[in-house]
Symmetry: C2
Subunit: 235 residues, 2 copies
């Protein structure tokens, strides 16, 4: 049973700008074939599908990244999705509500994949920052926003329980990739035209922390407004 | 490198009294030889040393538990402690401060073992409750408190980062076992007379959730005062 979600880093460490890449894509891919994340310095929005890692840059360009690409934060798992439902003409709020009601698992981690035709997709991606790194809120103010209509693609979402807010984003955290690589990134909004929804429930979160990064290990998080800044920047 | 801490359940689930045993001691011991936890219905305080699981009951009796013993919450790891320091005449606050300053790892999980002679130890243990289970705060009000002076034994503590408060207890969570099994339990206070302090830093938290327990999976935690109740009951 493939029921482990691997997470490197925490969303909390992005808040004060601890953006050093502390795991390589090669190492990350040893823990699964499907995931999301961001590169060093918030270098784009990552979507990993079938073992292929794509980066949506702040300029909207979508490229594959090499095994040496490094990240401060990422989620990955070995895909073993089960059919949940199919959706027609469903906006993002209705979609998340339908998924929540049908999965009925608010207290564990799970992944949702929505694959099909989208009437509209609105995403964002951040440009890579240099040292000294900005905070998450500063970086998210410098993001680019992309919109497209009638696009075929895949939305990969991770649901995290409320008690893990800070380590992750409580609720759904979704990235998108168009089949033709014309648009992708962190999902701000979408409307499904016709899509299949599959789900994979995890019983284990394998939470890996960057203990070799002295900036992370010695940072004093007590002055950071972790919970609120994640909600502001990631929703 | 033995740098994984395995956790079954979360402290959050104890708050509303989700106290069903959802892992057996046999299964737990497949993840390590050193740990702490509590039994179904808050049945005592567990201390696992060198692969032997002891239960300190609400009556103060200390017994080994069988592989079929079940728990709603436990931590375990494979011991690979490294020498940190030795302490003489150090109270609990000074001891935790010394450990924090020397380990310098506030943002990851680690375990501390303090082994030697204690001038004084004050512990508590809870009596097993039946269904309907009490909340954590209710149960902790019904606990027994034990004190002893001049006692040789082992304190096992887990340190958790602030961002994981709720999943765990932020800061130190310590259980004690006397060498002669005369006293043990959840540590409320202690003074070291002469003891060796060893530490083991983890880069991974393997967080296992009881996804087979429908009471847990369907519980609405939004009305529970998780963070505050854990601080009240577990410190």
């Amino acid at each position: 049973m493939n029921s482990t979600l691997y997470q490197h880093g925490t969303l909390a460490l992005l808040v004060p700008g601890l953006l050093k890449g502390t795991i390589t894509m090669g190492e990350l891919l040893s823990h699964g074939n499907t995931g999301i994340g961001t590169g060093e310095g918030l270098d784009g929005e990552l979507v990993i599908l079938d073992g292929t890692p794509y980066k949506v840059g702040g300029d909207g360009q979508i490229v594959q990244v090499p095994a040496t690409f490094t990240m401060p934060f990422a989620n990955i798992h070995q895909a073993d999705y089960q059919t949940l439902t199919s959706l027609t003409n469903s906006n993002s709020a209705a979609t998340y509500q339908t998924v929540s009601e049908q999965v009925q698992s608010p207290n564990t981690f799970y992944s949702v994949q929505i694959k099909g035709l989208f009437q509209a997709v609105k995403t964002r991606a951040v440009n890579k920052a240099s040292r000294p790194y900005p905070t998450l809120v500063q970086a998210s103010q410098a993001q680019s926003v992309f919109q497209q209509e009638q696009v075929a693609g895949t939305l990969v979402s991770y649901y995290s329980p409320e008690v893990f807010h800070g380590a992750a984003v409580a609720g759904f955290h979704s990235h998108f990739l168009a089949d033709d690589l014309s648009i992708g990134g962190h999902v701000l909004d979408f409307t499904v035209e016709q899509a299949a929804v599959t789900v994979q429930i995890f019983d284990t979160l394998q939470q890996h922390l960057p203990v070799g990064d002295i900036d992370y290990m010695q940072h004093d998080f007590s002055a950071d407004n972790v919970a609120q800044d994640i909600s502001t920047a990631e929703q």
